[in-house]
């Protein structure tokens, strides 16, 4: 199933990376450290008058490694900063802090054309991501010529090959985007991204704008392409079902930070961050046990409340405002991504991620204070797995 081990070598660069846990011992292909991206919101003039910059910290210090050949998912709700991070990694959004390394080399703020080519993107909305005035052939020809991907005599043949690869006929070359359905447009967008023979394909919600039955064809296509071309895939999605189907590893984002990273199976079977647990519990499912689950009146929501605005990030742990197990320490100390002893692959940014039970002392204290027979403060166990 995984093609991760398919490309063992790659050009070995001499630099030993000091970046934290990769998947295995090999150096990561793409590595972000301390990446932060923020926007100024509101009018610049108003900000200048008030002598303040209204900074929205969309991505707020992210460390992330992407190994060659792996498929990594970046999961989170809207406002979590996942798309912004993807754009930053693809070099389409300037980074305020931190650095992005490709093959061990720090990428400059303005990337060269050759660097740009290495990371290609597929966007969410296939209706806005294709230029309505260009034919598919025109679109591909331009990229191929600018980058001299193939000799100019072979451009046409290579374009046809690309279209066949994504499951479109060669006659699509002369068609305009408006002549395609949504799914076909997304295939064109994938062909365009693959045209430059990138090392990394960043797909930002590639199926969420498509109908269910069409989603499956695109997901299968991405999976097959990965196997066939040995692509490294960074999938941005809010849909954990899609992620589980396609990816080897998952990073969960919340309010500009990564709160948990783990191999896919591990994340789904043994989530450690309370947000991940809630996210998993909130997914509607088709399994037998799930029917009318919601109708059971006694159960509370998987995660209560709303995500705070990125303009007003809570002090301490940023999830504490919605966290069922929040304690005093969560309001004062910002938890870093930590790993369980001996397992660098699974990391979570929660004070109580790898402690067996929620802080026993704190619970005990509250039990003592509460009237007998009531056990407050015990987190709702909402994990269907057990």
């Amino acid at each position: 199933m995984t093609a991760a081990a398919g490309q063992p070598g790659g050009p070995e660069t001499g630099t030993a990376l000091d970046g934290a846990a990769g998947v295995s011992g090999t150096a990561p292909l793409l590595s972000a450290s301390g990446v932060a991206v923020s926007f100024a919101v509101g009018s610049a003039l108003a900000a200048r008058i008030r002598h303040q910059q209204r900074l929205l910290r969309a991505v707020d210090g992210v460390d992330l490694d992407l190994a060659r050949g792996e498929a990594l998912a970046l999961v989170g709700e809207s406002g979590s900063g996942k798309s912004t991070l993807a754009l930053a990694l693809a070099g389409l959004r300037p980074v305020d802090h931190g650095e992005i390394r490709f093959d061990g080399r720090v990428l400059p703020a303005r990337r060269s054309r050759a660097d740009q080519r290495r990371i290609q993107m597929v966007f969410q909305d296939p209706y806005s991501s294709l230029n309505p005035r260009l034919t598919v052939g025109g679109m591909l020809r331009e990229l191929l010529r600018v980058h001299h991907v193939v000799p100019s005599g072979e451009v046409e043949a290579y374009s046809k090959e690309l279209l066949t690869l994504v499951g479109l006929g060669p006659d699509a070359l002369r068609a305009y985007p408006r002549q395609f359905s949504g799914g076909q447009r997304q295939r064109v967008a994938i062909a365009r991204a693959l045209a430059l023979k990138p090392d990394i394909l960043v797909a930002d919600e590639p199926v969420s704008a498509l109908d269910v039955s069409v989603q499956a064809t695109i997901l299968n296509l991405l999976r097959d392409l990965r196997g066939e071309l040995g692509l490294t895939l960074l999938l941005i999605s809010h849909n954990l079902a899609v992620v589980r189907h396609l990816c080897d590893r998952v990073a969960v984002m919340y309010l500009g930070r990564i709160v948990e990273v783990a191999p896919t199976a591990r994340l789904f079977s043994d989530p450690r961050h309370p947000y991940t647990k809630g996210l998993l519990a909130a997914i509607p499912r088709l399994a037998d046990s799930a029917f009318s689950q919601v109708a059971a009146a006694d159960s509370g929501p998987a995660v209560a409340g709303d995500m705070p605005s990125a303009l007003r990030i809570p002090a301490g742990c940023r999830f504490r405002t919605r966290c069922p197990i929040a304690q005093e320490i969560c309001g004062t100390a910002d938890p870093a991504l930590t790993q369980e002893t001996g397992d660098p692959a699974h990391q979570a940014a929660c004070h109580f991620a790898f402690t067996a039970a929620p802080p026993a002392a704190a619970v005990a204290a509250r039990v003592a204070a509460a009237p007998p027979g009531v056990v407050p403060g015990v987190p709702r166990q909402r994990q269907r797995k057990d």
């Binding site: 199933m1 709700e77 809207s78 359905s181 109908d211 269910v212 039955s213 069409v214 989603q215 499956a216 064809t217 997901l219 299968n220 999976r223 809010h238 849909n239 954990l240 079902a241 899609v242 589980r244 189907h245 789904f268 809630g278 996210l279 998993l280 519990a281 909130a282 997914i283 509607p284 499912r285 088709l286 399994a287 037998d288 799930a290 029917f291 009318s292 689950q293 919601v294 109708a295 009146a297 159960s299 509370g300 929501p301 998987a302 995660v303 209560a304 709303d306 995500m307």
Partner: protein
Amino acid sequence: MSEMSFTKSSGAAQPAAGPVLEVSDLHVQIAARHGTVRAVDGVSLEVAGGEALGLVGESGSGKSMTLRAILGVLPPEARITSGQIVLDGVDLVPLSNSDLNRIRGPKMSMIFQEPMSALNPVMRVGHQIAEGPRVHLGYGRSKAAERALDLMRRVGIPDPERRFRAYPHEFSGGMRQRVMIAIALSCDPEIILCDEPTTALDVTIQDQILRLLARLCAESGVSLIFVTHDLPVVAQLCQRVAVMYGGQLVETGDVRAVLLDPRHPYTLGLVRSAPDVEYVRDSLVPIPGSPPSLVTPPSGCRFHPRCEFAEEDCKVLPTPLRVLPGGRSTACLHYERCQDAVAADRVGP
């Protein structure tokens, strides 16, 4: 409203209490430049009191058009050409717009996908909720405001006294949808029509809204028609489900029966093509081909060009819904094959 009615699993026949809403043989046509689009083509539905009916289909299946026809808010180029929509014993089809206005609100209301565009951006949220009771129930200013506050509490808007005077843009997406629900509930309707109300929301917020809707259904006995393309959402909330394809119903029945053990290849296709968190397959099974043209629909069964079980007779014979044992019905002539395929799927993984 009896609280027990929604627990009945067989929805086809409701001997005790008649259905709240009964749609029979509804046809909606849209005049378009390239011909007449038969957007809804002979749809019959029943919704019992306190029941949540899921109406499932892909874009262009006619599910939203059905909902709009029931509410009487079709786009100007569309019209109901035949059929009946009976709500509480009254046929809505021949009613004038002003008559419908007396029914929309106290009898039925709607929740939209995009609460931001459905809410008035320059009117205080509390006043928007209080508007219905003032117009339809003849409440005075203070009584309506009291009701609005009560509704805000019921739909889980924290700090309602302060939020009453806020504007929609000060609310998050989930809170706006709660406001929409409060507005929909404000005149105690018999039925609420929901058009993909959770599609634009994040999964944790969707979970909150689904739980809220389920609770309101159980508490107040209001019925729901829940239009969505998302099968798992239907599984969580609804008791019965109706699947639409190409403007027609292809399968109806108890939600568990239809989604776990489909008797129509299109339903089977939808279930198989959707990725599921619990069940990871080597490869998803998409439905080949593309949706049918509604101007010149395929003859016979509309799904036959994409169907793996299609036979010669599927291309010619009409495929009305046929009742199967267990209160369910299917439009498929060869539904046994689905049964076999489902059984094979079970054995597989």
